[in-house]
Symmetry: C2
Subunit: 356 residues, 2 copies
């Protein structure tokens, strides 16, 4: 088992990465917990519900099951209210613990429910997709969507533990694996050139989910994300680099309609565009732009963005919630493994868009 320790002002907690971790969940439930609320969706619960319930039985605590609808379109205030209704109808108190079993939607909304219920109860993240294992379950960002924007309503709220079972990845489709790997290689690009080159060498083993390779990739991704988050829990500075590829990626998601491309696929393609912009603005070498593109292709993500007019791209990127006071800011790579946040003028952005 790998253990990654996360330290933030909002809380310190371990991430456990191992095969068979679902059967050990009871280890993360504090002795003084009064009740466990297991939040999941019907799809994930059908696969792992029984294993998890069995694992939690050894705590001898009451387990309340809360199943929420499956899909990003349900990460909203109605589903959040459904969770609160269930917690209150079952008379959960401040010493209850939420266990979030599922992908990013379940984790984000369950974490936000934990942040708000009685002004904050403890929760454990049990991410069941590769994307959520390496991204959303680490760092304490919780949220729901609003009709006018994704993740607009939320909190920075840290779990008490993250339990990652790599065995669950076997049930994911190839697109979901590619989408998760996009975030994995992102950590290499923005913070760790050695890890990036390791990903290049192991791309085939990663897409084939070779266990030891996957375990290391997940562990290293969590370490790198934990490092960034520990420096900047509330995204006032360094944490912004985690958005590498996301400005273009969000534009793709918004322009095509959310769900058409997976988030990770859009980020994968967005990283190629951001690498090209880096070459233009801060001197990333052309062969490194090519390396980014080849690696995105090797993990199975799309490399060709939608063919839109430049103005449509600019509009879509202007809507990004990180656009403070109207500036277009990007995370860029001066070299592989290093990243900066920089404002770029619209003319330069359009010049790069024309390359695609």
């Amino acid at each position: 088992m790998s253990v990654v320790q996360v330290n933030t002002p909002g809380g310190n907690y371990p991430i456990h990465v191992a095969s068979g971790r679902l059967t050990q969940l009871a280890q993360s439930i504090p002795a003084d917990a009064t009740t466990i609320a297991l939040i999941s969706n019907p799809t994930v619960f059908a696969l792992y519900g029984e294993t998890v319930l069995n694992a939690l039985q050894s705590t001898e605590k009451k387990v309340v099951q809360v199943l929420i609808p499956d899909g990003e379109q349900y990460k909203n205030s109605q589903t959040l209210d459904q969770i609160f209704d269930a917690l209150l109808q079952n008379r959960l108190d401040r010493k209850a613990v939420i266990v979030a079993l599922g992908g990013g939607v379940v984790g984000d909304i369950s974490g936000f429910a934990a942040a708000c219920f009685m002004r904050g109860i403890r929760f454990v993240q049990v991410p069941t997709t590769l994307l959520s294992q390496v991204d959303s379950s680490v760092g304490g960002k919780t949220a729901i969507n609003h009709p006018l924007g994704k993740n607009m309503i939320g909190a920075f709220y840290q779990p008490i533990a993250v339990e990652i079972d790599i065995d669950v990845l076997g049930t994911l489709g190839q697109r979901e694996i590619a989408a998760g790997l996009a975030e994995v290689i992102k950590y290499g690009m923005i913070t760790d050139a050695d890890f990036l080159h390791w990903c290049v060498e192991n791309a085939a083993a990663l897409t084939a989910l070779q266990p030891d390779v996957v375990q290391y990739a997940v562990q290293r991704s969590c370490e790198l994300k934990a490092y960034v988050v520990s420096q900047d829990e509330r995204e006032s500075g360094l944490r912004a680099i985690l958005n590498f590829g996301h400005t273009f990626g969000h534009a793709i998601e918004a322009g095509l309609g959310y769900g058409e491309w997976l988030h990770g696929e859009a980020v994968g393609c967005g990283m190629i565009m951001a690498a090209a912009l880096s070459a233009e603005v801060c001197g990333l070498a052309p062969e490194h732009v090519q390396l980014v593109k080849d690696l995105v292709a090797a993990i199975g993500c799309p490399t060709q963005p939608p063919q839109w007019e430049a103005d449509k791209w600019i509009d879509l990127m202007g809507l990004d919630k990180k656009a403070e006071g109207g500036q277009l800011r990007f995370v860029l790579l001066p070299e592989l493994g290093k990243s900066v946040v920089q404002a770029v003028d619209v003319t330069t952005v359009k010049k790069v868009l024309a390359q695609f």
Copy 2:
């Protein structure tokens, strides 16, 4: 002007207490704020909206007005959504600042909106009732109600400043003043016997809103609450003493239907009951129980609780969200100006209930 500094892990901020403070609000708006969202209700806005808008004009920032319905029954998720809709329709970003102009309802829901909007933006509390000036605006408790319980959904989230203008108290009715004074004398009872005796001596001047007396009472209340909150932001220990009188008080509010008695009135009467329980359990002198009762009467709060069967009281108190694992815990006074939190068995509670 009095300045009370609040220091908590979640943030440090000043409370300004003065006559005419509404006209100086611009001083609390940070220079880098992009937009100001002024949240209020139609009643308060009709009285002070123009003064506040004039005061904010000197910042030269865009001000978005958000008026929410007046009343505790609107401190719910629908009104919260209305606020989020307005913030997003007006394209507020992470550097926007919320100004909450109103009583506890406006402050609680606006603070919670600030806590959640884009995972947290800055906000300024401008409490316009005595109760909110001495209680809810200090300490960072924000929340909305749920059909199954008050303040069930919320956050600990600190404002960047609290601006208290004592001139606004002149428009309050006598019942609202009494309800606010109940919390003022509470601080004396639980933490500061000198202040309690000062309240006894100045009870008439307090109910008459004599400005210098009111300013000192508000300042001292904020100091005492700030001291408690700075020791225990998230209510894991000491902060519980602020609930003196609240277990009985909440039972009165819930049993009569919320709004029948004002919260402060219920707490006022609840403190008499908690004092009587203190005499029974931890030796508060009978003459001090009498002092509590006389002072509650002097500030104009009811001293006679509803005449219910003991079991109804117990049921109503068991529903309190602070009831962890089924125990009935009370804040008690071993002597005036000192408080403890203690579990009390039902038999003893019933014995004291029989005295009323």
